[in-house]
């Protein structure tokens, strides 16, 4: 652990992180700290580089400038698509990260069983991914991410492709798992209500290039509901700010 983190206790620390692809500046001097166990939502319109930011934190891509420090912690990333492997059963998919770590067969099986229990899919271990619904596949993907035993869970619009009802229920599920497993979550979305429903903080990013323009603390008591007046009220406020930002690009 770096000195900086020992002082601040941050799990993820970005300082003036920039990322450009050739001439295109995707992220411009983004600074952000995430505390242990915090649920942080990154919110922005198209082109704000929120997915880029996650790739950087996940180490899939290198930064162009600034400092990014995760203190060598393990990071896991979930996408909008579950991207389960069709040649493996549900159990096989969840076991895969364990296999790659060289965990023994019996231990793997037991751990996969536990993880499937956590996402409430215990009876589905022997199914194939295509036999499950979109929401269930996303939960298997979550179990697979948890199997990596990462300290930081990055989620890139994980519920974006699901219907409203399923998304609602998965919000409850994610909140429960986050609390029970004491995860640190960095969650990207363009859905303002979703961000307010889930986050301890909502970070608003500007578009082209991506910059941090607001950092809202969300203090409503949990468990929350996406249609509660508090969530709606704060979401409306953030939406106004986001619209103003989008309008800036009109010319």
């Amino acid at each position: 652990m770096s000195l900086l983190q020992q002082k601040t206790g941050a799990v993820v620390r970005l300082e003036n992180v920039s990322k450009s692809y050739g001439d295109l500046l995707a992220l411009d001097r983004v600074s952000l700290t995430v505390a242990p166990g915090e649920f942080v939502c990154l919110l922005g319109a198209s082109g704000c580089g929120k997915s880029t930011l996650l790739s950087l934190v996940a180490g899939l891509d290198g930064i162009t400038g600034g400092t990014l420090d995760t203190g060598g912690r393990k990071v896991s990333l979930m996408f909008q698509e579950a991207a389960l492997f069709p040649w493996l059963s549900v159990r096989g998919n969840v076991e895969l990260p364990l296999r790659l770590q060289g965990v023994s067969r019996s231990e793997r099986r037991q751990r996969a069983e536990e993880l499937l229990g956590i996402v409430r899919l215990s009876g589905f271990a022997d199914k194939r991914p295509h036999e499950l619904s979109g929401g269930m596949r996303q939960r298997v993907a979550l179990a697979r991410a948890l199997a990596q035993d990462a300290d930081i869970l990055l989620m890139d619009e994980p519920f974006g492709a699901l219907d409203a009802m399923t998304r609602d229920i998965l919000h409850d599920e994610l909140e429960r798992i986050w609390r029970e497993q004491q995860l640190t979550v960095l969650f990207v979305t363009h859905n303002v209500r979703e961000a307010v429903r889930l986050g301890d903080r909502v970070i608003l990013l500007s578009s082209r290039p991506g910059r941090v323009i607001e950092d809202y603390a969300i203090t409503h008591a949990r468990p929350r509901r996406i249609d509660s007046p508090e969530v709606s009220g704060q979401a409306a406020e953030i939406t106004d700010r986001l619209r103003a930002e989008v309008a800036r690009h009109a010319h």
């Binding site: 996940a58 698509e81 492997f85 069709p86 409430r120 194939r128 399923t166």
Partner: protein, 287 residues
């Protein structure tokens, strides 16, 4: 709050139950077999009818174009001889050795080409070029290189099939979906593990279609080879057919055509079964 958890749990379970498709009865086995079989029977009946009509019209003398009944009687007689099965054994042994050799060589070449960019530029298009080459063009060279021997036949069979196998593997590796590759990256797959757990299984469907196409090419090459390269002592199907032609026995020639057709269809069914089994596992079939 135990009740809250119970409610949530019920909600999740209920939603899962609603979203899963109810199981449908597939119907009795006999019925299903019949449903897939009758169009094939109809096709055979149509062919036989046209054939019989041609015979009735006396378009050709009866000893040149025999009637279906004559041919099928002959076929019945031929396939009950041990001699015939010896011929089938010789031909199928060649087919399988040639095909297996082609699979091994094609897989190695495919793996190398998809690995190394310079090789790909050099050999990639050559492989496609080879595929379009009619295999019969190789025989003169094969005979000069190996004389009238089994090796000459194998040489051409392998040249016919290996490019398809290699191409199947190459395109399988090329078209592994990006999202899967990203998952591999997130899970920290590298080197051998990446091949073992991601690239190879993901390229399997394309590899199987490569095998299937390779088989078709090798079977064609083999038949051409057996008519051209007559190895002394090896009375293969092709040789027997050639002999029947020399004796102007049209009926027997047609018998062997039917035999070759049936073998081809049977092997194709095997490949399709494997292909369908894989697709069902992957959920690529609407079942």
């Amino acid at each position: 709050m135990p009740t809250d958890t119970a409610v949530e749990s019920a909600e999740v379970a209920g939603l899962d139950a609603l979203e899963l498709q109810p199981k449908r009865e597939k119907g009795a086995l006999g019925k299903r077999v019949w449903r897939s079989a009758w169009p094939k029977f109809l096709a055979i009946a149509i062919v036989l009818l046209i054939w019989q009509a041609a015979v009735w019209s006396e378009w050709k003398p009866i000893y040149v174009l025999p009637a279906p009944a004559t041919v099928f009687t002959d076929l019945g007689n031929v396939i009950t001889t041990a001699d015939f099965w010896d011929g089938v054994r010789v031909t199928m042994t060649r087919a399988f050795t040639g095909f297996l050799l082609a699979v091994v060589i094609g897989t190695i070449i495919g793996a190398l080409v998809s690995q190394f960019a310079p090789l790909r530029a050099a050999i990639g298009s050559l492989i496609t070029g080879l595929q379009t080459m009619p295999s019969i063009m190789w025989f003169p060279l094969a005979i000069l290189l190996f004389q009238l021997s089994e090796s000459a036949i194998l040489f051409v069979v392998v040249l016919g099939a290996a490019p398809s196998v290699a191409n199947g593997l190459i395109s399988g590796i090329d078209y592994v979906p990006r999202t899967w590759l990203r998952v591999g990256q997130v899970l920290g797959m590298r080197g051998f593990a990446k091949y073992r757990h991601l690239i190879l299984p993901a390229s399997l469907p394309s590899f199987i279609s490569g095998l299937k196409q390779g088989w078709a090419f090798s079977w064609r090459s083999l038949m051409a080879g057996e008519l051209l390269v007559i190895v002394p002592g090896a009375l293969s199907i092709g040789v027997r057919m050639q002999q029947a032609r020399d004796l102007s026995d049209s009926s027997l020639v047609i018998c062997y055509i039917i035999v070759v057709l049936i073998i081809g269809i049977l092997i194709d069914v095997l490949f399709n079964t494997a292909d369908n089994a894989l697709r069902r596992r992957w959920g690529l079939l609407g079942s």
